[in-house]
Symmetry: C2
Subunit: 126 residues, 2 copies
Protein backbone atom coordinates (compact mmCIF):
# COMPACT_ATOMS: atom_id res chain seq x y z
CA UNK A 1 0.00 0.00 0.00
CA UNK A 2 1.17 3.48 -0.68
CA UNK A 3 -0.33 6.94 -0.95
CA UNK A 4 -2.08 6.92 -4.36
CA UNK A 5 -1.61 10.56 -5.22
CA UNK A 6 1.66 11.31 -3.41
CA UNK A 7 3.20 13.29 -6.26
CA UNK A 8 0.33 15.77 -6.53
CA UNK A 9 -0.05 16.08 -2.77
CA UNK A 10 3.67 16.86 -2.50
CA UNK A 11 3.48 19.43 -5.30
CA UNK A 12 0.52 21.21 -3.74
CA UNK A 13 2.19 21.16 -0.35
CA UNK A 14 5.46 22.60 -1.68
CA UNK A 15 3.67 25.37 -3.54
CA UNK A 16 1.56 26.27 -0.50
CA UNK A 17 4.49 26.05 1.91
CA UNK A 18 6.82 28.48 0.14
CA UNK A 19 4.05 30.88 -0.88
CA UNK A 20 2.98 31.06 2.77
CA UNK A 21 6.60 31.31 3.95
CA UNK A 22 7.23 34.25 1.64
CA UNK A 23 3.94 36.09 2.19
CA UNK A 24 2.80 35.34 5.72
CA UNK A 25 5.26 33.23 7.66
CA UNK A 26 3.05 32.78 10.74
CA UNK A 27 0.51 31.05 8.50
CA UNK A 28 2.84 28.02 8.53
CA UNK A 29 1.74 27.14 12.08
CA UNK A 30 -1.20 25.07 10.86
CA UNK A 31 1.15 22.76 8.95
CA UNK A 32 2.94 21.55 12.09
CA UNK A 33 1.81 19.50 15.10
CA UNK A 34 3.01 19.38 18.74
CA UNK A 35 5.42 16.55 17.85
CA UNK A 36 6.72 18.01 14.56
CA UNK A 37 10.48 18.52 14.25
CA UNK A 38 12.43 21.24 12.46
CA UNK A 39 16.20 21.22 11.98
CA UNK A 40 17.22 24.55 10.50
CA UNK A 41 20.93 24.91 9.75
CA UNK A 42 21.70 22.29 12.47
CA UNK A 43 19.55 23.86 15.24
CA UNK A 44 16.68 21.64 16.36
CA UNK A 45 13.15 22.76 17.31
CA UNK A 46 10.22 20.63 18.50
CA UNK A 47 6.52 21.41 18.14
CA UNK A 48 4.33 23.72 16.07
CA UNK A 49 4.53 26.62 18.49
CA UNK A 50 8.31 26.67 18.85
CA UNK A 51 8.76 26.05 15.11
CA UNK A 52 6.52 28.99 14.17
CA UNK A 53 8.40 31.17 16.64
CA UNK A 54 11.72 30.06 15.12
CA UNK A 55 10.58 30.72 11.55
CA UNK A 56 9.12 34.10 12.49
CA UNK A 57 12.41 35.17 14.05
CA UNK A 58 14.77 34.15 11.29
CA UNK A 59 17.23 36.95 10.62
CA UNK A 60 15.52 38.25 7.51
CA UNK A 61 12.26 40.09 7.06
CA UNK A 62 11.62 39.53 3.41
CA UNK A 63 12.54 36.37 1.60
CA UNK A 64 11.60 34.66 -1.61
CA UNK A 65 12.01 30.97 -2.38
CA UNK A 66 12.51 29.63 -5.85
CA UNK A 67 11.92 25.89 -6.18
CA UNK A 68 14.22 24.27 -8.74
CA UNK A 69 13.56 20.58 -8.12
CA UNK A 70 11.10 18.57 -6.03
CA UNK A 71 11.09 14.81 -5.74
CA UNK A 72 8.56 12.86 -3.70
CA UNK A 73 8.27 9.24 -2.59
CA UNK A 74 5.44 7.53 -0.71
CA UNK A 75 6.07 6.08 2.75
CA UNK A 76 3.60 3.31 3.53
CA UNK A 77 -0.02 4.44 3.21
CA UNK A 78 0.13 7.63 5.26
CA UNK A 79 3.47 9.28 4.53
CA UNK A 80 5.31 11.20 1.83
CA UNK A 81 8.94 12.28 1.81
CA UNK A 82 9.88 15.26 -0.39
CA UNK A 83 13.31 16.64 -1.23
CA UNK A 84 13.27 20.22 -2.50
CA UNK A 85 16.26 22.09 -3.88
CA UNK A 86 16.15 25.71 -4.89
CA UNK A 87 17.30 29.23 -4.26
CA UNK A 88 16.63 31.70 -1.49
CA UNK A 89 16.56 35.41 -2.25
CA UNK A 90 16.91 37.48 0.89
CA UNK A 91 16.09 41.19 0.93
CA UNK A 92 19.20 43.34 0.77
CA UNK A 93 21.31 40.52 -0.58
CA UNK A 94 21.80 40.38 -4.33
CA UNK A 95 23.11 36.85 -4.47
CA UNK A 96 20.58 34.05 -4.23
CA UNK A 97 21.69 31.15 -2.02
CA UNK A 98 21.10 27.51 -2.85
CA UNK A 99 19.23 25.38 -0.33
CA UNK A 100 18.00 21.84 0.19
CA UNK A 101 14.99 21.00 2.33
CA UNK A 102 13.38 17.70 3.16
CA UNK A 103 9.84 17.33 4.46
CA UNK A 104 8.17 14.23 5.73
CA UNK A 105 4.42 14.65 5.46
CA UNK A 106 2.03 12.48 7.46
CA UNK A 107 -1.71 12.29 7.36
CA UNK A 108 -3.97 12.46 10.38
CA UNK A 109 -7.75 11.90 10.20
CA UNK A 110 -8.29 14.71 7.71
CA UNK A 111 -5.11 16.63 6.94
CA UNK A 112 -1.55 16.32 5.81
CA UNK A 113 0.95 17.86 8.19
CA UNK A 114 4.74 18.17 8.48
CA UNK A 115 6.28 15.52 10.72
CA UNK A 116 9.95 16.12 9.78
CA UNK A 117 11.49 19.26 8.32
CA UNK A 118 15.24 19.70 7.70
CA UNK A 119 16.66 22.79 6.00
CA UNK A 120 20.24 23.48 4.85
CA UNK A 121 21.88 26.13 2.75
CA UNK A 122 24.10 24.52 0.13
CA UNK A 123 27.30 26.37 -0.66
CA UNK A 124 29.04 25.98 -4.01
CA UNK A 125 31.31 22.94 -3.77
CA UNK A 126 34.38 24.78 -5.01
Amino acid sequence: MSVPDFDNIAKQFVEFYYKTFDENRTGLASLYRPFSMLTFESGGTLGAEAITEKLKNLPFEKVQHRVDTQDAQPVGDDGIVVLVTGALMVEGNDRPMSYAQVFQLKKDATNWFVYNDIFRLVYPAA
Copy 2:
Protein backbone atom coordinates in the same frame (compact mmCIF):
# COMPACT_ATOMS: atom_id res chain seq x y z
CA MET B 1 8.77 6.95 21.58
CA SER B 2 11.63 7.62 19.26
CA VAL B 3 14.84 5.92 18.24
CA PRO B 4 17.16 6.52 21.22
CA ASP B 5 20.41 6.70 19.33
CA PHE B 6 19.25 8.09 15.99
CA ASP B 7 22.07 10.58 15.62
CA ASN B 8 24.83 8.00 15.96
CA ILE B 9 23.03 5.46 13.81
CA ALA B 10 22.65 8.09 11.08
CA LYS B 11 26.32 9.08 11.32
CA GLN B 12 27.50 5.48 11.07
CA PHE B 13 25.16 4.86 8.17
CA VAL B 14 26.30 7.94 6.24
CA GLU B 15 29.97 7.06 6.74
CA PHE B 16 29.43 3.46 5.64
CA TYR B 17 27.21 4.41 2.71
CA TYR B 18 29.61 6.82 1.00
CA LYS B 19 32.71 4.76 1.76
CA THR B 20 31.02 1.76 0.17
CA PHE B 21 29.72 3.87 -2.72
CA ASP B 22 33.22 5.16 -3.47
CA GLU B 23 35.11 1.88 -2.97
CA ASN B 24 32.76 -0.92 -3.95
CA ARG B 25 29.44 0.28 -5.24
CA THR B 26 27.83 -3.17 -5.50
CA GLY B 27 28.31 -3.53 -1.75
CA LEU B 28 25.38 -1.14 -1.32
CA ALA B 29 22.91 -3.88 -2.26
CA SER B 30 22.64 -5.10 1.33
CA LEU B 31 21.36 -1.69 2.44
CA TYR B 32 18.22 -1.87 0.30
CA ARG B 33 15.13 -4.11 0.39
CA PRO B 34 12.70 -5.27 -2.36
CA PHE B 35 10.41 -2.31 -1.56
CA SER B 36 13.16 0.35 -1.22
CA MET B 37 12.88 3.40 -3.48
CA LEU B 38 15.60 5.47 -5.13
CA THR B 39 15.01 8.73 -6.99
CA PHE B 40 18.25 9.77 -8.65
CA GLU B 41 18.10 13.08 -10.53
CA SER B 42 14.33 12.58 -11.02
CA GLY B 43 14.50 8.98 -12.32
CA GLY B 44 12.74 6.49 -10.05
CA THR B 45 13.90 2.94 -9.24
CA LEU B 46 12.19 0.33 -7.04
CA GLY B 47 13.85 -2.54 -5.18
CA ALA B 48 17.35 -3.51 -4.06
CA GLU B 49 18.24 -5.32 -7.28
CA ALA B 50 17.20 -2.55 -9.66
CA ILE B 51 18.74 0.10 -7.39
CA THR B 52 22.10 -1.69 -7.26
CA GLU B 53 22.01 -2.06 -11.04
CA LYS B 54 21.22 1.66 -11.41
CA LEU B 55 24.04 2.72 -9.07
CA LYS B 56 26.51 0.38 -10.75
CA ASN B 57 25.73 1.84 -14.15
CA LEU B 58 25.95 5.52 -13.29
CA PRO B 59 27.99 7.31 -15.94
CA PHE B 60 31.18 7.52 -13.92
CA GLU B 61 33.62 4.85 -12.86
CA LYS B 62 35.41 6.59 -10.06
CA VAL B 63 33.73 8.96 -7.70
CA GLN B 64 34.42 10.44 -4.30
CA HIS B 65 31.83 11.91 -1.94
CA ARG B 66 32.63 14.58 0.58
CA VAL B 67 30.01 15.01 3.28
CA ASP B 68 29.66 18.64 4.40
CA THR B 69 26.53 18.46 6.57
CA GLN B 70 24.33 15.69 7.92
CA ASP B 71 21.19 16.23 9.96
CA ALA B 72 19.06 13.43 11.34
CA GLN B 73 15.63 13.25 12.96
CA PRO B 74 13.84 10.24 14.48
CA VAL B 75 10.59 9.01 12.95
CA GLY B 76 8.53 7.11 15.52
CA ASP B 77 10.42 4.23 17.09
CA ASP B 78 11.76 2.55 13.96
CA GLY B 79 12.71 5.30 11.53
CA ILE B 80 15.34 7.95 10.93
CA VAL B 81 15.38 10.63 8.26
CA VAL B 82 18.76 12.08 7.27
CA LEU B 83 19.56 15.02 5.00
CA VAL B 84 23.12 15.03 3.67
CA THR B 85 24.69 17.84 1.69
CA GLY B 86 28.17 17.64 0.25
CA ALA B 87 30.32 17.50 -2.84
CA LEU B 88 30.86 14.88 -5.51
CA MET B 89 34.24 14.55 -7.17
CA VAL B 90 34.01 12.63 -10.41
CA GLU B 91 37.11 11.25 -12.13
CA GLY B 92 38.19 13.37 -15.04
CA ASN B 93 36.24 16.37 -13.81
CA ASP B 94 38.16 18.96 -11.84
CA ARG B 95 35.16 20.76 -10.44
CA PRO B 96 33.39 19.16 -7.53
CA MET B 97 29.59 19.30 -7.75
CA SER B 98 27.30 20.02 -4.81
CA TYR B 99 24.62 17.49 -3.97
CA ALA B 100 21.79 16.90 -1.52
CA GLN B 101 20.59 13.43 -0.57
CA VAL B 102 17.89 12.30 1.80
CA PHE B 103 17.66 8.83 3.27
CA GLN B 104 14.84 7.37 5.28
CA LEU B 105 16.21 4.48 7.33
CA LYS B 106 13.89 1.85 8.79
CA LYS B 107 14.67 -1.01 11.09
CA ASP B 108 13.58 -4.59 10.52
CA ALA B 109 14.09 -7.36 13.10
CA THR B 110 17.85 -6.87 13.20
CA ASN B 111 19.08 -4.29 10.73
CA TRP B 112 18.67 -0.76 9.55
CA PHE B 113 17.98 -0.47 5.84
CA VAL B 114 17.19 2.29 3.33
CA TYR B 115 13.46 2.72 2.70
CA ASN B 116 13.64 6.04 0.81
CA ASP B 117 16.60 7.53 -1.04
CA ILE B 118 16.44 10.76 -3.06
CA PHE B 119 19.53 12.29 -4.69
CA ARG B 120 19.92 15.64 -6.45
CA LEU B 121 22.86 17.63 -7.71
CA VAL B 122 22.57 21.23 -6.53
CA TYR B 123 23.75 23.86 -8.97
CA PRO B 124 24.97 27.27 -7.78
CA ALA B 125 21.92 29.51 -7.43
CA ALA B 126 23.40 32.30 -9.52
